[in-house]
Amino acid sequence: MSFDLRIKKRIGERSIDLTMSDSAGLVALTGPSGAGKTTVLNCIAGLMVPDDGHIAIGGRTLFDRASHTNLPPEARSCGYVFQDSRLFPHLTVVRNLAYGEALASSEDRWIDLMEVACLLEIADLLDRHPASLSGGETRRVAIGRALLAAPRFLLLDEPLASLDPARGEQVLQCVERIRDELGLPMLYVSHDAAEVARLTDRVVELPLAR
């Protein structure tokens, strides 16, 4: 079972309630703006604590309220591409990319820095600081950083935002390869129906609930 989730979380005036059990490698998460997609990813990454429920991915339990299990984020091995990128402003691009790589044990890694740089065409940005990157460049570095942390599953919050079609296509192909060759569980947030249809037929729609 790739995903075994039951997440209940109240945030502001909104109640998020998601239950999902799926053995598909890649599940798309859609829903209107403000429905709680990012909140769900944050709960899975360990950055927010659900009010109730259970989170297991790839057979590993990350959170379980009943048994008081709650792994800290660093123990969850997730590759999270944030909606707002969150590059470290004081580090160059290459040090942003290497940040998670250096913390992962080498046998867990399945891609290296040069592959990522070529794949995402960021090789000539390596010595720059994030403040000088364009929107799409920032996005690509954020994706690369997540892949390099040797994650056991991926959380992608609109990874293709700000990417032009050519670069978007490359990222999509990479996602497909990861899905097919590595079989990493992936939760993919997108508003683009075509994109989603191409990647998977498992779509979870989060409604705008009160």
């Binding site: 984020p73 660093e74 969850r76 999270y80 944030f82 969150r86 470290f88 402003p89 940040y99 913390l103």
Partner: protein
């Protein structure tokens, strides 16, 4: 007035530098830890700790010196213990002057650092955690470098305050030439003798030059770090 420095003046400058550098270096980690606690943790007694850190600013320096004398003097509870345990004597030693300077610099250092720590975006620390960083690693690699402007500002303030510290020092460790007579104490001393205006002016200019130097070093450090520490995007 523009004669080269006398051996005595050099000695005083050397002592002032030693006292201030030791004071600031020793206070740095303590101040940062306090700043972090005050910026990031909510605990009972937080406001009290905050007030306690501000004390040396509020209480007149002479009183601070007097309290140090009572606590760290040879017969004081902490002083006698330090002496017995480590053979460390602060009374009338330059180490005591450094302690006085450190205590007076502490509140300035804590405030500047705290301000900087509060400005560090928590979302970046979240990002570091998902990349496998423990709390401690994220602190070292994200919070610490991003609060560098505050650390530098605090260090400059603290160093300047240490260079200028007078009241607590003279009360705690007296004004012993070569041992505790730092620049301000030497200036005070010169003010006691008639006809020493030139000596006083020279010493004042020397303290100004010392701290101008500290400022330039800090500006250079900020520039070297590419001003990148200042971005808290």
């Amino acid at each position: 007035m523009i004669a080269p420095l006398s051996a005595e003046e050099l000695g005083i400058i050397g002592l002032s530098l030693k006292v201030s550098l030791v004071a600031v270096a020793a206070t740095l980690p303590v101040a940062y830890a306090l700043a972090w606690l005050l910026a990031r943790k909510r605990f009972p007694g937080r406001v009290l700790l905050d007030a306690f850190v501000h004390l040396p600013l509020v209480v007149p320096p002479v009183v601070t010196g007097y309290i140090l004398l009572i606590l760290f003097g040879r017969t004081g509870p902490i002083g006698s213990w330090l002496e017995a345990q480590f053979g460390l004597s602060l009374a009338f030693r330059w180490t005591g002057a450094a302690l006085a300077a450190a205590v007076m610099a502490l509140p300035l250092m804590v405030r500047a650092m705290r301000l900087s720590i509060e400005m560090v975006d928590q979302h970046l620390i979240d990002a570091a955690r998902t990349l496998g960083a423990t709390r401690w690693h994220a602190f070292r690699t994200i919070t610490l470098p991003l609060s560098l402007p505050g650390i530098l500002a605090g260090t400059v303030l603290g160093f300047a305050r240490s260079i200028g510290e007078f009241g607590a020092t003279i009360t705690f460790v007296s004004s012993i030439p070569g041992e505790t007579r730092t620049l301000p104490l030497a200036i005070y001393s010169a003010l006691q003798i008639p006809g020493t205006d030139v000596v006083v002016a020279r010493l004042v200019v020397l303290s100004i030059i010392l701290s101008l130097f500290a400022l330039l070093v800090s500006e250079w450090l900020i520039r070297r770090s590419g001003g990148k520490g200042a971005h808290v995007l």
